[in-house]
Structure formats: structure tokens, C-alpha cells
């Protein structure tokens, strides 16, 4: 199954990359049983600044990426000391409750990692 897109696609996707192409880490983990925290961490200040400047990643963008209500995107916080952007989502289902599929919230990062941005 073709998962990773090539780094420099042609046509309409030229000059775009996925967040996973340019970030050092894109990761998710519970922040308590009711929230999942997504972290995007860059290797350098320059990449971080470029991302913050042009990715347009606000709560509405994150809600669109995940296909979830805006109210479930609790926060998007820029944390310059770590060259990082932190996003907090409300969990659809409390961790470990019947119907949950990811008790640690550790595999919720992929839509963000595969999201395309201008670069």
C-alpha cells in the first residue's frame, strides 16, 4: 500500500511537503485519560520558524485534518524553546473505556504527519 508520498511531487502538489517530511518528530500520547496531546518537533529553529510562519496550523485546520468538531481541538500552542508545536485534542472515548481503540493514545498522529503544507 503506498503510504509515504515522494518528497517533491509534481503537478498540483509541487512545492508542498507533508509535516512528517520536515519535522524531526510527530507524535501522540495521552495527556490524562480525557485528552490526547500531539507534538510536532523540529530539529532547528529555522525550520520551526518557517513552519509556524506558513503552515497555518490553527484549531480550525486541525479540526479539518482530523474530521472532528472544532470544540474537540482544545489548544494549539507554539513552544519555541523546544522548536515544537503542541496540539491537544479531546478524546472521543475516555482512555480504556469500552469502544476505545488506542488506550495510550500513541497512534493518533498519522493524519497530522501526512498533512501537506506549502514549503
Amino acid at each position: 500500500m503506498p503510504e509515504q508520498s515522494p518528497r517533491r511531487p509534481s503537478g498540483a502538489l509541487a512545492n508542498t511537503v507533508t509535516i512528517g517530511d520536515v519535522a524531526a518528530f510527530v507524535t501522540s500520547k495521552n495527556a490524562g485519560p480525557y485528552k490526547v496531546a500531539l507534538d510536532i518537533v523540529f530539529s532547528t529553529e529555522a525550520e520551526y520558524e518557517r513552519f509556524v510562519g506558513q503552515a497555518g496550523l490553527d484549531r480550525a485546520a486541525v479540526a479539518a485534518i482530523y474530521g472532528i468538531p472544532l470544540a474537540d481541538v482544545l489548544d494549539v500552542i507554539h513552544f519555541a524553546p523546544a522548536f515544537a508545536v503542541k496540539i491537544t485534542l479531546r478524546r472521543r472515548i475516555t482512555a480504556g473505556a469500552t469502544g476505545d481503540s488506542d488506550v495510550y493514545g500513541a497512534q493518533q498522529h498519522v493524519p497530522l504527519m501526512q498533512h501537506r503544507i506549502a514549503w
Binding site: 490524562g32 513552544f79 481503540s101
Partner: protein, 452 residues
């Protein structure tokens, strides 16, 4: 009282008791002559089951091996050991499980540390009174606590702050083994007693609580050393193959938290807006400027679970491309066959790995048809017999039910195991995740002193 020292070195040999301690890191860490050994032994991340069942998510043999290494080092160097969130979930059953392992080791080795046991199970009568006084509020959700929640909860713990550990140290404890604790507190109770800055102390504990996770490369269980000074602190891994960098340390300040700039703890919060991270040497980072903000009320986080039923599961694979192409019809047929016999009183979930097993209804990927699927059939019912009966019918229906275009009429599923049906047992859910205001931070946490 001796003069307050200028520095204090804390060694966290691992991020989780039972996850392994590299012997070389332990030896090199102890060569730095730490003043304190401290380790976190628990987490809420493995989910509600462990708090409900009274069992640990860590393995007894692994915990014992790690605890032996820690106690041997503490004995040889005559330094204190502080352990929080004993047994994983930190209830009394968990705490006593760890204390039994501790007693075994001490008996075999002839150790007689003066020891404090601190319970984190909270008295329900006291909680009912706090609830009536309006002193309990929800945390991260909107469900107000009711007397019914307190009544039905299988077990309720509170995350203790620094004060119960400080009381144990003042009582002369050389080893402190405590139930559910706010993760950084065992790293910093000595520091607060010696008057070190509260903001720096909390931030140091936050970095130490996951052991070597604040160093790169981030793999395997490993340790971290921190030295606290009056105006700053440093962190450094004992493992010479790892480094702490500004990025690794700052990134760990983010970990498992909703807001990297602001972290609340019992009695206050730390603010990282003015924090400076400086690369002091190739492997060491110095942190300064983290500020402490006192809270208007001292609060303790409560964690509680309720039993909601009994789970039985079966695992199977599907390789047939015709079935996979008609998967929704197939599932509908299974559900209707089961509902004919058992119309309600249970919850049937079919986890389909290879399709949307991880992201569920928000899965956006529209890949080509997968060549195989992994299925987990799950039934949760009020009693174990109903759970097993509904799962057994689900499993046989799933094996034999038809779907449009079916050619493989002898069976739909590849079972990896016999028996196919797995009794998982009681199912718990988090129902209490609230803050309670307290007058005395030590009062809810009973302490006993003993010598093993």
C-alpha cells in the same frame, strides 16, 4: 541543623520501576555520588483496568530485579530511596504488592532500612463530606461527581504532593514507598526540605520522572542525573552513549501534557515562559528561570474506576478478497444473527485491523483494498456467563455466516489459536478524575513506619 547545601544531586535510574536498568548506567550514575535515588513506579496511561483489578501493569520479576539494584546501590552508598505510585496504579493492593517484594529483598540481603509506607487510597466518608462542601470539581471533563460515583467506585486513589514525602523524610525514613503520587514529587521532597527553589525543584522532577527519556537517542529504559543549585539545575544522562541537548530536554518538558508553558501540581503550578535551556557541555543542559506560582487552594487529583461489565474476545484473520470487498455486509449479517438470539444486554464490537482498527470512525485513508484483515470480536456484558455466551455465538456466526458472492462456504475465518474464545475478565472505566480541595496536604495519606 546543618548548613543548607549549595547543591543536591538526584539520580533516577529509570523512568518506570520494572522496565529495566542498564547495569553500566547504574554504576556510572552512582559514581557521581547522588544524594538521593528516586523512581516513579506507576502511571495512569495503561488504562483503568489496573486500578480496578488491584494488579500491576509491571511484571513482578522485572520489578524485583530493578528494586534489588536500587536497594543494593542505596545500601552501599548510604543514600535514601523514594518510590512513588507503587505497583502502577498506586492503590493499597498495589502498594502492598511492592512492599512484599521489598521485604523479600531486604530479608534475603539483611537490609534494615527505616521505611515509610504511605497509602494513597482516600477515605470515602471524607470524600462524601468534601463533596457536600462543594470542594470537588471535575478535571478535563464536565461530569460533576455524585455520591453514586463514590459508592460504585471499585477503588479511589489521590495523587499525593510533596508534603507526605517530606513528612516521611522528617520522620527519619531512609526508604519511602508511597501509593499514587504526582510523578515529580519523589524527586524533589528533599530539595524542598532544604529550601531549594520550588519552581526549579518541580521542573527538575518533571524531567527526572521518565528517567533517560529526556536524553537522545531515546530508546530503552535508562537513567538521568540532575543536580539542583540555588539558581538553576542541570540534567545529564549517566549513559555515555546518550546526550541531553536543549532540544531533548525542552521536548521532554512537553511530554504527556496539555500545555508546555504551564504545569499544575498539588499546591501550585510552574510557569515556563521565562525558562532558559542552555547547552552547558556536550551532554549536559542547564535550566533556569522556571517560576513557581502558588495555587489559591491546595488540591489533590482523584482517580477512580467502576466495573462496567465482563469482556470475552476472539481473534481471527480474513484472507478472502471477496469477503473483504463485502466486509460491511458480512458484519451486518453477523450482527443480525447474534441479535436474533440475544437482542440486548451486551455490547458487541468488531475491531477490524487493516481497515480502520486504530482510528475508527474518523479514519480518512481510502487505500486500495487490503489483502488481509485482522479481526478482534469483543463482547462486554453485565455478567461473565452472558459475555461468554454472546461471544461464542458471535464467533460461530462470524465463521459460518454468508455474504454476497461467497465462494468459501466452509469457513470465513483463520483462527490463530485453539481455544478461540479468550475470557478477559472484569472491565473497568474511569469515572472519577476530579480535584478535591484539602486543608492539610498530608491528612488524606496515612503513613506507617516499619523496619523490614
Amino acid at each position: 541543623m546543618v548548613a543548607a547545601p549549595d547543591s543536591l544531586t538526584v539520580f533516577a535510574p529509570q523512568g518506570m520501576l520494572g522496565y529495566g536498568i542498564p547495569e553500566r548506567s547504574m554504576r556510572l550514575g552512582m559514581e557521581r555520588r547522588p544524594d538521593i535515588l528516586a523512581v516513579d513506579a506507576g502511571s495512569i496511561d495503561p488504562g483503568p483496568h489496573y486500578l480496578g483489578s488491584g494488579t500491576s501493569f509491571t511484571n513482578r520479576r522485572s520489578v524485583r530485579k530493578d528494586l534489588e539494584m536500587i536497594l543494593d546501590a542505596a545500601h552501599a552508598h548510604r543514600i535514601p530511596v523514594l518510590i512513588g505510585s507503587a505497583g502502577g496504579a498506586g492503590g493499597d493492593a498495589h502498594l502492598d504488592w511492592l512492599i512484599e517484594i521489598y521485604r523479600e529483598i531486604c530479608r534475603e540481603r539483611g537490609y534494615s532500612f527505616r521505611t515509610a509506607r504511605i497509602s494513597a487510597e482516600i477515605d470515602r466518608g471524607w470524600l462524601r463530606r468534601r463533596l457536600a462542601d462543594g470542594a470537588i470539581s471535575p478535571l478535563d471533563h464536565d461530569n460533576a461527581l455524585t455520591p453514586g460515583h463514590l459508592e460504585r467506585a471499585t477503588r479511589i486513589v489521590g495523587q499525593m504532593g510533596y508534603e507526605p514525602f517530606m513528612r516521611a523524610i522528617e520522620a527519619g525514613a531512609e526508604v519511602v514507598i508511597a501509593g499514587r503520587s504526582f510523578d515529580p514529587v519523589m524527586m524533589g521532597a528533599h530539595a524542598l526540605l532544604q529550601g531549594f527553589d520550588r519552581g526549579l525543584t518541580v521542573h527538575m522532577g518533571k524531567l527526572l520522572e521518565c528517567g533517560g527519556a529526556a536524553a537522545y537517542p531515546r530508546h530503552g529504559s535508562d537513567g538521568l542525573l540532575a543536580t539542583l543549585y540555588r539558581d538553576s539545575f542541570t540534567v545529564e544522562p549517566p549513559n555515555p552513549d546518550k546526550v541531553c541537548t536543549v532540544a531533548s530536554v525542552a521536548a521532554h518538558s512537553l511530554y504527556e501534557r496539555a500545555n508546555p508553558y504551564h504545569m499544575e501540581f498539588p499546591g501550585g503550578a510552574i510557569d515556563l515562559h521565562a525558562t532558559r535551556f542552555e547547552q552547558e557541555s556536550e551532554r549536559r543542559v542547564r535550566i533556569s528561570g522556571t517560576r513557581y506560582i502558588a495555587a489559591p487552594h491546595y488540591t489533590i487529583k482523584l482517580e477512580g474506576v467502576e466495573r462496567v461489565g465482563y469482556r470475552t474476545i476472539a481473534i481471527a484473520g480474513v484472507r478472502d478478497p471477496i469477503l473483504i470487498s463485502r466486509f460491511d455486509d458480512y458484519v451486518a449479517n453477523i450482527r443480525s444473527r447474534v441479535a436474533e438470539r440475544y437482542p440486548d444486554g451486551y455490547r458487541l464490537t468488531i475491531h477490524s485491523y487493516g481497515r480502520n482498527g486504530v482510528m475508527g470512525p474518523i479514519e480518512a485513508a481510502r487505500a486500495e483494498q487490503p489483502f488481509e484483515l485482522g479481526l478482534v470480536f469483543e463482547v462486554v456484558a453485565d455478567d461473565p456467563e452472558t459475555s461468554a455466551a454472546v461471544l461464542a455465538l458471535t464467533r460461530s456466526a462470524a465463521l459460518h455466516v454468508t455474504y454476497p458472492g461467497r465462494k468459501a462456504i466452509a469457513g470465513n475465518l483463520a483462527f490463530p489459536f485453539s481455544p478461540s474464545d479468550i475470557v478477559v475478565g472484569p472491565v473497568y472505566e474511569f469515572t472519577i478524575h476530579h480535584l478535591v480541595e484539602v486543608e492539610d496536604p498530608c491528612a488524606p495519606f496515612a503513613m506507617d513506619l516499619f523496619t523490614p
